[in-house]
């Protein structure tokens, strides 16, 4: 069975959605628990692609294709995980801030978070502070992730944090920020809980923010 899982991680890394779906079913047929398939196969594969992306071994296209393959497995596992009452690593509400249409960085972060076992609610692009507030109230997440690619829209992050505070829910979530022009210093200045420069680091950060340990 360990063999099926390592195969699963390998096919996921290669972006082979069909094989990932088949191997996920095979692993379940072989008697593995859904959480074992998730951790031993999908999470392992996404970990590897994340690390290689950060190290410049693979690039944005490979990560997107691997994430599509991951979804082929996740779609099968999700209902089973819910039935078995397996809690996700955590829940994240994610969005690109108001006025900003840049999409791919935030999507990659969402994919890596899913690959790290998080449940991700993606609010999309051009997300006003009120939408974040509403989502925090309705979804009760552990984390809020905001992306900004423009110096013009970076203040939207601060406005969102302020809006969460005004709505009385700032204390119930950890906030992480990122995007090309965002820096650690900026994150600290606006009172976010964390910053990460790339999608692999974002997953690592998210895990540590919810107290589920770091990478590796």
């Amino acid at each position: 069975m360990a063999d099926v899982l390592s195969q699963l991680a390998v096919r996921l890394y290669a972006g082979d959605a069909k094989a990932v779906a088949q191997l996920t079913l095979a692993a379940l047929d072989g008697g593995l628990a859904p959480s074992e398939v998730l951790d031993g196969g999908l999470v392992t594969g996404m970990d590897r692609i994340g690390v290689d992306f950060r190290n410049g071994v693979v690039f944005v296209p490979e990560v997107l294709v691997a994430a599509r393959a991951m979804h082929a497995g996740l779609d099968i596992l999700r209902p089973l995980l819910a039935q078995a009452d397996v809690a996700p690593t955590g829940k994240v509400v994610l969005g690109t801030v108001v006025g900003d249409l840049h999409d791919i960085g935030k999507k990659l972060v969402g994919m890596m978070l899913e690959g790290a076992g998080f449940n991700v609610v993606d609010l999309g692009i051009d997300t006003p502070p009120e939408r974040f507030v509403e989502a925090v109230k309705n979804e009760n997440p552990d984390l809020v992730g905001m992306s900004a690619l423009l110096t013009t829209t970076m203040p939207g992050m601060k406005r969102t944090i302020d809006a969460l505070a005004r709505a009385g829910v700032r204390g119930s979530v950890k906030i992480m920020v990122g995007g090309a022009p965002v820096t650690q210093g900026f994150a600290e200045k606006i009172g976010a809980d964390g910053y990460a420069p790339d999608a692999a680091a974002a997953a690592e950060l998210a895990r540590s923010l919810v107290g589920k340990g770091g990478w590796r």
């Binding site: 972006g15 410049g56 693979v58 690039f59 944005v60 296209p61 490979e62 997107l64 294709v65 599509r68 006025g99 249409l101 999409d103 791919i104 960085g105 999507k107 423009l150 110096t151 013009t152 203040p155 090309a180 022009p181 420069p197 790339d198």
Partner: protein
Amino acid sequence: MRLTPRERVIAQIRHQETDYLPYTIRFRGDEGEQLDDCYGTDVADRLDAYYGSPAWQALVDNAIQRVLVPKLGVDASCGSFYTDLYGSTWRVDLRPYQLVEPAIKTPSLAGFTFPELDSVFTADWKEETLQAIDQQRDHFVVIGFGFGLWERTWTLRGFEAALMDTAAEPDFFEELIERVAHHQTGIVERLLELPVDGIMFSDDWGYQRGVLLGPERWRRVLKPRFAQMYALVHEAGKYALSHCCGSVADIMPDIIEIGLDVLESVQPEAEKMDPYELKRRFGSQITFWGGLGSQSIIPFGRPDEIRAEVSRLCREMGKGGGYVLSPAKPLQPETPTENAAAVVESFLQQAGVAFP
């Protein structure tokens, strides 16, 4: 004898030092890219108020002037949606406009045709363009057609889909980009008939951390096609210039090898894009245009820091020629007025223009 702005640019491209550096400052993005509608008055309007009149505008003399081929872009002037000549639909009542429905929805070219160039490059168009060029006498005039080779593939397919195609549908992507290259080569040939100094390509190969598609794929898919287009430009006795965002440090030797004359933007905050380091490594082989940080010093620095950085750019980047001074992007709407003024004043000062 005093150089004209055009002569100054040409001298820089030939790597000769000039009396002062040719420069450009843009205050707004191209039509449809502007964020001012959402973020208040644009920078130029604020400077009018700051200086008490728009007289300062007449002092700014951009050495390189761009003429565009508007029909190949997105018409954001009316309605909520606009379908471009290629069949992709954009939402244009938002600024900037965004792609909502790509023309090619599955990885197949079945049934797709490229627009006829005769419908774009009409006699009227030529007449108008010649007039626009004529008005820029003494300046270095470039003509551009917006979305470049890679960008046209993603505006046809959607950004995420095109990125995935490059890895998951390599045969389709190869066919698509070959067709786009053929089409754009046709465009370049028409543009080369005009009395311009250069062709302004525009293709964002980089993002903050590196080459979006990865250097190897860039070399395989984009490099040979750009090599051909740049060669055409050179055969016509003109210069090849290209806008490109983000970090392209890993492919600089390739860009130089295929003969790009001028690389525009030079975003200093992007990985390995420190302009002084680029100058040291590649400065004798290509001309850099840009380099004043639009993600850092312009929006977040102090006016005195901006002035100091501009003099360092002039001193170090201008050494031995091969440099055109400019912010990495048009001044974005959040730029503090004092910072915008520092950019304008330091650019003019190095050009020996007495400021009000």
